[in-house]
Amino acid sequence: MHLSKLLWKNAFRHRLRTSLTILGITIAILSFGMLRTVISAWYAGVDASSASRLVTRNAISLIFSLPISYKDRFRQIDGVQAISSGNWFGGIYIDEKNFFPNFAVEMENYLKLYPEFVLSPEQVAAASRDRKGCVVGRKLAERFGWKIGDSIILKGTIFPGDWEFVLRGIYRGRDKTVDETQMFFNWEYLNETMLKTVPRRANQVGFYMVGVTNPNRAAEVALAIDRTFKNSLAETLTETEKAFQLGFISMTEAIVIAIQLVSFVVIIIIMAVVANTMAMTARERIGEYAVFKTLGFRGYHIAGLIFGESLVITMTGCVLGIVLTYPAAKAFGSTLSNYFPIFNVATSTIYLDVAAALLVGIVAAVFPTWRAVTIRIADGLRRIG
């Protein structure tokens, strides 16, 4: 026999109590994991953004546009490799609850800037050839059952009217971090219509997407761009795609912080629960630990027994919690895919789960261990009978 055998035996001496404690830890780790996943889903756009892409927008605000005529001047700036432009279209498919991001873009160049969107060159060509052609992500197509050749009608919000598109391409993400719920159509289609209906809104783009030759020089290039358009009619603000995405999130930062706080509170609560279980257990066994000490076992043996038992309980709960996090995240992610296009359990979340469970197990064992180790043997023995 090895003393470690006692850890398991001790842990399951009170089946019900231990099971309930483990259940609590499982739920805590599950909630913790889900909350962390929500947070990383929030930042998914940021994480997915490329370091070699810059976004240029109107310096005053995102709601002001830039003239399409800027495009050629971009090409002359040192370090700019590729350039495309687009508008947030904000169209609604049948009903507002069907929300998904849709953009009017300069199709071929835009898709070239996004190598993480995987689709055949034939589909890209077909989409840009057809004035009303559009490309959507795989998840979006699946969600509404769209097939190549289908006609899709969006109700414009920023650009009024009913807009008809024809699905010409479906992209897949290169990996799991790529958003597969977006829609892109030809900016020319939007612009032609604007020219006819609201000419003052024509020849305008919401943003330029810039590919840089060397990501390490991105900051420099961004400055060069903004300098180029200084004192123009519309001055520009250029930042990395990451900073641009972060700008969106900062608006909702308070919510993210609240979720973060809740995730830690969950861990603190379960810490109290496990500490209580361990304190109860160790109090009942104080006599037994005195017997161990009488036999010549040392403080570190006793500490090993108590810490070990605590960790057996917390790590069992932790493993169950982690195992359940995956299906839970999957279910959660598919229900809320409109809001969180990317909802994957990150490896770092699992590490955090394990770290949290270890912390709980250790903290819960500290006080009982201290008591069991420091109590005089004679006093401990007196507790029996």
């Binding site: 037994e288 036999l295 010549g296 004679a378």
Partner: protein, 231 residues
């Protein structure tokens, strides 16, 4: 007087008091006595007279205020906690009133417990445990858990645990205190046999006159003082 063998336990001017708030309660006062090797000593006296306290002191699980305890040449009152723990594991076998077996371990595992602190191999440990359980007559109950054994059987497992390391002294605090007449008789016979056949020195606290009868010497502890009342 036979002076050939030095005493195995030599206690000099031993005192111990407890503090309860500001009050100091003397329990043992200036106790001096010897226990020869191979002795079977019964310690009697009224409740609260300090029998358990004295036993704990010479088993090295409690510390005296003043005085000396020399056991087999080792002055245990000056040992540091670590050394004392090691000394206990090698030299003392403890038998408790309530057996104090670990309920989640089998009889075999309970007896094996003190051997985990030794350098013995698995096979050697097994051999020792089996021998000890055979001595107490429970070789056929090795895989039983304490709850599956009677009180008398549990105490016999506890005795096997106490002797499995072949300690210098065996101390027992009311070993029959929780047992019926018959089981108590069995336990006393077992202790008697260990004393006679293996020459184990036994110091036993008891309230039971029949238990005391098995001993060679009875000493009474009263009001902190020890009186010799041997036959």
């Amino acid at each position: 007087m036979n002076q050939t063998k030095p005493p195995i336990v030599r206690i000099r001017n031993l005192s111990k008091s407890y503090r309860r708030g500001s009050q100091i309660i003397p329990v043992l006062e200036d106790i001096t006595f010897d226990i020869p090797d191979g002795e079977f000593l019964a310690l009697m006296g009224p409740s609260g007279s300090g029998k358990s306290t004295l036993l704990n002191l010479l088993a090295g699980i409690d510390s005296a205020d003043t005085g000396s305890i020399l056991i087999n040449g080792v002055e245990i009152t000056t040992l540091a906690e670590t050394e004392l723990a090691r000394w206990r594991s090698l030299h003392v076998g403890f038998i408790f009133q309530f057996y104090n077996l670990i309920p989640v371990l089998t009889a075999f595992e309970n007896v094996e417990l003190p051997l985990l602190l030794t350098r013995l191999s698995r096979q050697e440990r097994r051999a020792h445990v089996e021998t000890a359980l055979r001595v107490v007559g429970l070789a056929d109950r090795m895989d039983h858990y304490p709850a599956q054994l009677s009180g008398g059987q549990q105490q016999r497992v506890a005795i096997a645990r106490a002797v499995v390391t072949d300690p210098t002294i065996l101390v027992a605090d009311e070993p029959t205190g929780d047992l019926d007449r018959y089981s108590a008789g069995e336990i006393l016979d077992l202790m008697d046999r260990l004393n006679r056949e293996s020459g184990k020195t036994i110091i036993m606290v008891t309230h039971d006159p029949r238990a005391a009868e098995k001993a060679h010497v009875i000493r009474y502890l009263e009001k902190g003082e020890l009186s010799d009342a041997s036959q």
